[in-house]
Amino acid sequence: MNMLQENNWLLSLGTFLPMVGVVLLMLMPKAQDKSVKLVALFTSIATLAVGIYTAFRFDFDQAEKMQFVANETWIAVIKSSYFIGVDGISLPLYLLSMVITLLVVIYSLDHVPSPGKPKAFFSLLLVLQTGMAGTFIAQDLILFFVFFELVLLPMFFMIGVWGGEQRQYASIKFFLYTMFGSALMLVAFLALFFKTGAESFSIPYLIENGGSIGKNIQIWIFAGMFVGFAVKVPMFPFHTWLPDAHTQAPTQGSVILAAILLKLGTYGFVRIALPILPTAAREWAPYIGGLAVIGIIYGAIAATMQRDLKRLVAYSSVAHLGFIVLGTFALSSQAVTGAVMQMVNHGVSTGALFLLVGMIYERRHTREIAELRGLQHVAPIFAGVFTVVMLSSVGLPGLNGFVGEFLILIGSFGPARWWTVVATVGVVLAALYLLWAYQRVFHGEPDEANSSFKELTLREGLLMSVFLAIIVVSGIYPKPILDRIEPSVVALIEHVEGQTK
């Protein structure tokens, strides 16, 4: 595989800059809340600036190649190296993680959830950012695994310390589930390492040599990886940690969880599982597609039944991620492009939804749909923002959700016709549960408790306008993003097809 090595310090800078912020925070005295916040804010702004600079320096004419590649010896004993790089698939997600973290930091400036402790809270946010960005740039399985696991702990503490009433249960469930998956994933990684001659953990190396593993063994190794990633996604039937984690997590945790963390799993499919083990991927594809479709319908049905707004959004994530997995395992370039696109879209729209639900909770101290009523009457701008975000999630043409969803549907139509037809029902149901919830919450005459609902503040409005801008612009003109993603996906699909023919 061709790689471009210019500016190879950029990715490391972008990834580890938040850690500099963490060190600074650690050195600060506890009481200085204000400067803690400032440090966190400037760190995340600087990180995003580096990220944007990276995107500018990215050579879009060679988007299918790994760029900014650095490859240094790291743990020589196990032949693992510090090997990083980005291509058209990882760049949007890498950038998205930085955008979301910055927005969450801004939101947190005056919304540190109880029990406070801003120093610890912001430190965790920044550690989380390093873990997420690192996962998207790692080109070595061990490095990937380290970053993948690095994400786990901050999130565990975020739910466990700043979460809702049942935070203990939710955080342990989250942790156990993911650990279980990680264990199997590690088994698979080790097996992969040994079966390719114990030469290297480097992903490009494994992509080249993974095809030589016998089919039966491939299938087993793939199964291990699949469970690891599927728990993270989460796919039916490994999803039950998600609603609890989301409901109990503080708003910030939910936003990051939905926007980025879930994508680590789907990204793992695209980056690792598919190219290294194409034969096994082909074998598994129909079953995984089936699970994905079950997830779509199941998530939608479960979402319809929810009484808690946040839980509803959580289940809608299960359905949406079902679409992404369906697209990934359709193994056609449109569907996989759509899936990557949808990873970004879902991050934006569901992240924004969780933020809005968080704002509702903060104002009303409840998320029960039945308790909320007529909010559009007292907060029309809030309702308008919610409408656009919701419609993006529903997949209305002209907004970002549609582009990915339609590409997935049409790209999967050839390889998995009937699954796709069933998945289309999910599109219909998405409209039902979201609009129904919207109607119950925003329409009608507000009762006493709801009539004092505060309109969006200026800062909240500015925050949301970033989300709205991404939603509208990438919905109306998705070409720039698609043009970046596609070459990498085409290269991936060609590799898979070359290996399985």
Partner: protein, 731 residues
């Protein structure tokens, strides 16, 4: 400046531009030779592309799109002007105009679309605007519910549209790329492909059925028509624009637009009827029957709309393409006029009530303009010569018979009889007899329960705002309302003459301008511009009237863009027969209405209570054939609820149960290990807290995180062992 100016101005500009497009198109067709295919004006640009998919935005201008374009722009402009008065002082005045304009934008985009993607975009925007506008007065729960019902019902059909587009793309793309150089989304490409004899018959049939499901939802056809009458909860201008003259014809437009797909896929002109005809015919009759038992004037009109849409579908299904499309045109004018008339009554006479029985009657004297325009439009709707409906509806019925579907022709005639009868009943109740309720000057708010749901809100908002509680009697509406009514009624009277078949070829302008000519075209558009470098292969006279030239069989040379259709020869005898039927309907209904409602004839009053069979029938109709009960109570309550509950139960008990069980046994195992392997390190906490679930219940235990690391260590060692085992086994 409250936004309405912007709306009216933009709609007016659209109208001017579409009139210009219409003028140019007429020039184009006039200059073309008799048997020449008039190439549509197509321009497209790449919007975004991915993996060989090219999603374009572009225009496809031909007779059909120009016709609908003008209708949409025209009615939109008039309705916006009307709304200036009707919604004056509304609490979401600007919001209303914004949504109305967005709707028109969506519809125009859909009409102009040169490919299915853009079509879908417009289609969905309309659905969204419909949701926003029906629920415009969402403070009232009934309105909000109606909005959701409309959106969801239509959206159910939309699944068919998505699937249909996908099937067509995959079936047609290779052929269209090779022969026409366009993608499988292109409407023109799909049309030519469908008639090329290439398509696999199963694929195109499934595609046609899938697309037709979308049309059923959007155009309120049986069995998904139930949302349309409920949609009357929206403000009257919305009912007039979206739910009678424009948006709901989108489904009909889709069938007309992709006619070759339906023509081949559903075997139109084949013997014995097809899906479109059957659905259309059922819709005509069942909705016309429902119109008899409505007291709400807008609901009468809503069912009438459903019924007329049924006529359009029947016509398309029977191969009467032009009459059906012409009916879109004429129907838009007279139905918009009727709805706006109903709005005028509620605005100025009946105190925002739409209840004909309680709040109307005898209005012909106080509202002369509304009355005259109403009568003209009613006659047009009933299809009385020489009003516009006659030239379109009678043509549909005539052509259905001419193409050999006698049963369906009879259904059409029965429908015409029913239309005449229920419209006479509505007219009688509204304009004749004695004034009742609000129309008699009773300014009571009590009767509002039976009114259309939005009346209460409207009364508080717009009404009191501009009439400031004056005890006013019924009066004629202002100019902003009556002028649109008058313009529309002139068109309801005159627009039929654009295709007046009784007067011979020279009067059939629509046939010349709108109907695509079914000839083979040796297409060379991808080398030259549209309309140029066309080599026309003139079929000889014998072939041109057989089905094989551009029917379902393969064209000998080149491609076809439209199927060969025939037109019934107009006969006065047939027209007289349907006239007699219509007059019979009117007369019978008039006699019954006057006896029942004014003279309170004891033989008729309470008949449904006395005669059991009639009572049952009446109840059946009042309950709308129990379809809503079927959907809401039976399907949703007894099927969807249990499924959803079962899914949730499965989630909480089985999946989480496994998890809890696993955690439990891990804990037991670890306990066993500690106790038996290392007796001295008996961890009291492990023994005491029996289960994982229990620990969850008691929640805050300080040692939790410590246990997590134990689990972690355990899992990691298990992973390492597992990896080793796997490797050893496989080497």
């Amino acid at each position: 400046m409250k936004g309405s100016e912007l709306g009216v101005l933009s709609m007016f500009s659209s109208l001017v531009l579409s009139a210009g497009a219409g003028y140019q198109w007429i020039q184009r067709t006039n200059s073309a030779a008799e048997e020449q295919f008039v190439e549509p004006v197509i321009k497209s640009w790449s919007w975004w592309r991915s993996g060989g998919f090219d999603f374009g935005i572009g225009q496809h201008i031909d007779g059909l799109s120009v016709l609908v374009l003008i209708v949409v722009a025209f009615i939109s402009t008039l309705v916006q002007i009307y709304s200036l008065e009707y919604l004056r002082g509304d609490r979401r005045y600007t919001h209303f105009f914004a949504a109305l304009t967005l709707f028109s934008g969506g519809m125009l985009a859909m009409v102009l679309a040169d490919n299915m993607m853009l079509f879908l975009l417009g289609w969905e925007i309309m659905g969204l605007c419909s949701f926003m506008l029906i629920g415009h007065w969402w403070e009232n729960d009934a309105n909000a519910r109606a909005a959701l019902k409309a959106f969801f019902t239509v959206r159910t059909g939309d699944a068919g549209l998505l699937v249909g587009i996908a099937i067509l793309y995959f079936s047609a793309n290779d052929w269209t790329q090779e022969n026409l150089g366009v993608s499988g989304f292109s409407i023109r490409g799909i049309s030519a492909w469908a008639l090329s004899g290439e398509p696999n018959s199963t694929a195109i049939t499934i595609a046609a059925i899938a697309l037709f499901i979308a049309c059923i939802g959007k155009s309120g056809q049986f069995p998904l028509h139930t949302w349309l009458p409920d949609a009357m909860a929206g403000p009257t201008p919305v009912s007039s624009l979206l739910h009678s003259s424009t948006m709901v014809v989108a489904g009909v437009y889709l069938v007309a637009r992709l006619y070759p797909v339906f023509f081949v896929g559903l075997d139109i002109l084949g013997s014995g009827g097809n899906l479109i005809m059957i659905i259309g015919a059922i819709t005509i009759v069942i909705s016309a029957a429902l119109a008899f038992v409505q007291n709400d004037i807008k609901r009468v009109l809503a069912y009438s709309t459903v019924s007329q849409l049924g006529y359009m579908m029947l016509g398309l299904g029977a191969g009467a393409w032009l009459p059906a499309v012409f009916h879109i045109f004429t129907h838009a004018f007279f139905k918009a006029c009727l709805f706006l008339g109903a709005g005028s009554i509620s605005h100025s006479a009946s105190h925002h009530s739409f209840d004909m029985k309680h709040d109307m009657g005898g209005l012909r004297k106080v509202m002369p303009i509304t009355f005259v325009t109403w009568i003209i439009s009613t006659l047009a709707l009933c299809g009385v010569f020489p009003f516009s409906g006659f030239f379109s509806k009678d043509e549909i019925i005539d052509n259905v018979g001419n193409n050999g579907y006698n049963t369906f022709m009879i259904v059409g005639l029965v429908g015409a009889f029913m239309t005449a009868a229920y419209m006479t009943r509505a007219t009688y109740l509204t304009f004749f007899g004695e004034p009742r309720g609000a129309s008699a000057g009773e300014n009571s708010h009590d009767s509002h329960d039976s009114h259309d749901a939005h009346a209460t809100v409207a009364a508080h908002d717009s009404h009191d705002a501009h009439d400031s509680g004056a005890a006013h009697g019924p009066h004629e509406s202002g100019l902003l309302i009556t002028i649109p009514l008058m313009i529309l009624s002139v068109l309801a009277l005159g627009s039929g003459f654009l295709n007046a078949t009784p007067f011979g070829e020279n009067w059939e302008r629509m046939k010349l301008w709108v109907e695509p000519r079914a000839v083979e075209v040796i297409d060379a558009t991808h080398s030259g511009g549209p309309g140029e470098s066309l080599v026309i292969n003139l079929p000889n006279a014998e072939e041109s009237h057989s089905k094989s030239v551009c029917g379902s069989a393969t064209p000998a040379d080149g491609v076809c863009f439209a199927p060969q259709l025939q037109h019934a020869k107009f006969k006065w005898s047939k027209a007289m027969m349907s006239m007699v039927i219509v007059f019979l309907g009117m007369a019978l209904s008039w006699i019954l209405s006057s006896r029942l409602f004014t003279k309170r004839d004891p033989r008729l009053v309470g008949l449904t209570q006395r005669v059991k069979v009639l009572g049952l029938g009446h109840k059946f109709l009042v309950n709308k054939y129990y379809l809503d009960v079927l959907y809401e109570k039976i399907i949703v309550r007894s099927i969807a609820y249990p499924i959803a509950n079962a899914a949730y139960w499965f989630n909480q008990n089985i999946l989480d149960g496994i998890l809890h069980g696993f955690a439990n046994s891990t804990r037991k195992l670890s306990g066993w290990v500690y106790q038996n392997i290392d007796q001295r390190v008996v961890d009291a906490t492990v023994n005491n807290s029996a289960t994982f679930t229990k620990s969850v219940g008691t929640a805050a235990q300080p040692t939790q995180s410590g246990k997590v690391s134990q689990y972690g260590a355990l899992l990691f060692s298990a992973a390492a062992i597992g990896a080793l085992v796997l490797v050893i086994i496989n080497t």
